[in-house]
Amino acid sequence: MDIERIRKDFPVLSRIIRDKKLVYLDNAATTQKPSVVIDAIADLYKNYNANVHRGVYLLAEESTQAYEDSRDAVRRFINANSTKEIVFTRNATEALNLIAYTWGEANIHAGDEIIVSIMEHHSNYVPWFRLAHRKGAVIKIVPSRTDGELDMDAFKSMLSDKTKLVGIVHMSNVFGTINPVKEITALAHKKGAAVVVDGAQSAPHMKIDVRDIDCDFFAVSGHKMLGPTGIGALYAKESYLESMEPFLSGGEMILKVTLDSVVYNELPWKFEAGTPNYEGAIGLKAAIGYLEKMGMDTIESYERELTSYALEKMKTVPGIFIYGPQRAEKKGGIIAFNIKGVHSHDIGTILDSEGIAIRAGHHCAQPLMIDCGVSAMARASFYFYNTKQEIDSLVAALKKSKEIFGHVA
């Protein structure tokens, strides 16, 4: 992989921040965008902008075609069976809420059990928490083991005939842990439970095959995989989507409306009310094209090498504690840590003065913070455009932050 050439595809990576070269290590929050994505969006507005699925003129045909081509790109990217199974949403959060408010509303009843893990992002916890509250259902939490992996024994013991839904994050946005979603799905299906996989962190970094996983729902966010913000997708098995009530209502999701009756549109448009974010979808298609050209296997193996290097170097920082799996084979390129005597916000500010962007805070995973006995962590997260030199800069800046705060016991 020619990283220097790849980096030239991302205009923002040449920015100078506070007299230093930008070192962008907050990729789990959002990724930077290559020129092909920026250009695809500009091309739409310069050459063929028209509302989709409405006009009979050439521009509308072109924009509609581009929008639906994007849907097929998402289908191919996660290996879904049909474009009927791909619903465009704002992001993974909206995809997960869509499930909770449609399938969940109809299928979760008092006394039913919903199993989620302690590693869930708030977006795959709060919708189920609220659903359970509305319905009088029970939420059960699968803990993590001390090595940062999911406690599968605990999961197995929680599964029962009462389990109606299992929600599981594919790659933790804090620990980086890659959870065994295929095994989890098989176990849950034996009990007749539906399985929702939050793929916001996994889809950008590894090959996804929803048919192999066999999950019933899979959620992705475009902006975490080179795409623009405001576009994401929900994969759901066709049989599920067929049985579900619509989420939002309005234009596009209908076939026929009279004052007395409404006939819903076919899949997947039944779940896409209003003018969709076709600009976002078109940008996402360009992003997927870029990722496919690079190859997800190449991306995964390069990031693993980078993560392995980072884990080894970061361990040399005095007083550092790294959360989650300690070996790169077990996780994606996400490393959450704290340094004794230096709060993560202070680390964030000190790193910023070196042009290094990382995340500090609770990472929208407060239950996991509480479980780890902290209120905040610092987090460095990588993408394929990051380099070992950038990790060296990170480690040097971490050592500097330790020096500023002195070597407190």
Binding site: G341, H343, S344, H345, D346, T349, I350, S353, A360, G361, H362, M369, S375, A376, I404, F405, G406, V408
Partner: protein
Amino acid sequence: MSLEELFKEIIIEHYQHPKNQGHLEHPDAKSDGSNPLCGDEIAMELIFDGNVVSNVMFTGNGCSISQSAASLITEAIKGKTIEETRTIMNEYKNMLAGRDYNADILGDLEALSDVKRYPARVKCASLSVAVLDQALQQKK
């Protein structure tokens, strides 16, 4: 802007060895608050003697800015009248907002003046005064 201006020695000293940290028996007023985005937490307890803040203690956890601010502000208001306390709080708010302020009134609190250059951190420095505001409202 250099880091040394933000993380002055006095700030790190108050962060590592905070003054007035702990609880009071039978406080006349108490209040707490947090910054949901970053998780900083501060709780304050006050005892009044007539119109004077005769004692004040805080507990909390969070970054050096939020915790040193709590330490410095409790030092600044202890033994002051409520009127004087409000003046100190207002001058402190002026400083963080980048407005003119009276340095003599602020004393050591002026160490936090460079926080205003870091918009993401102003909330950290402001948490203590927000909590103090709520606590003072409990004074009849």
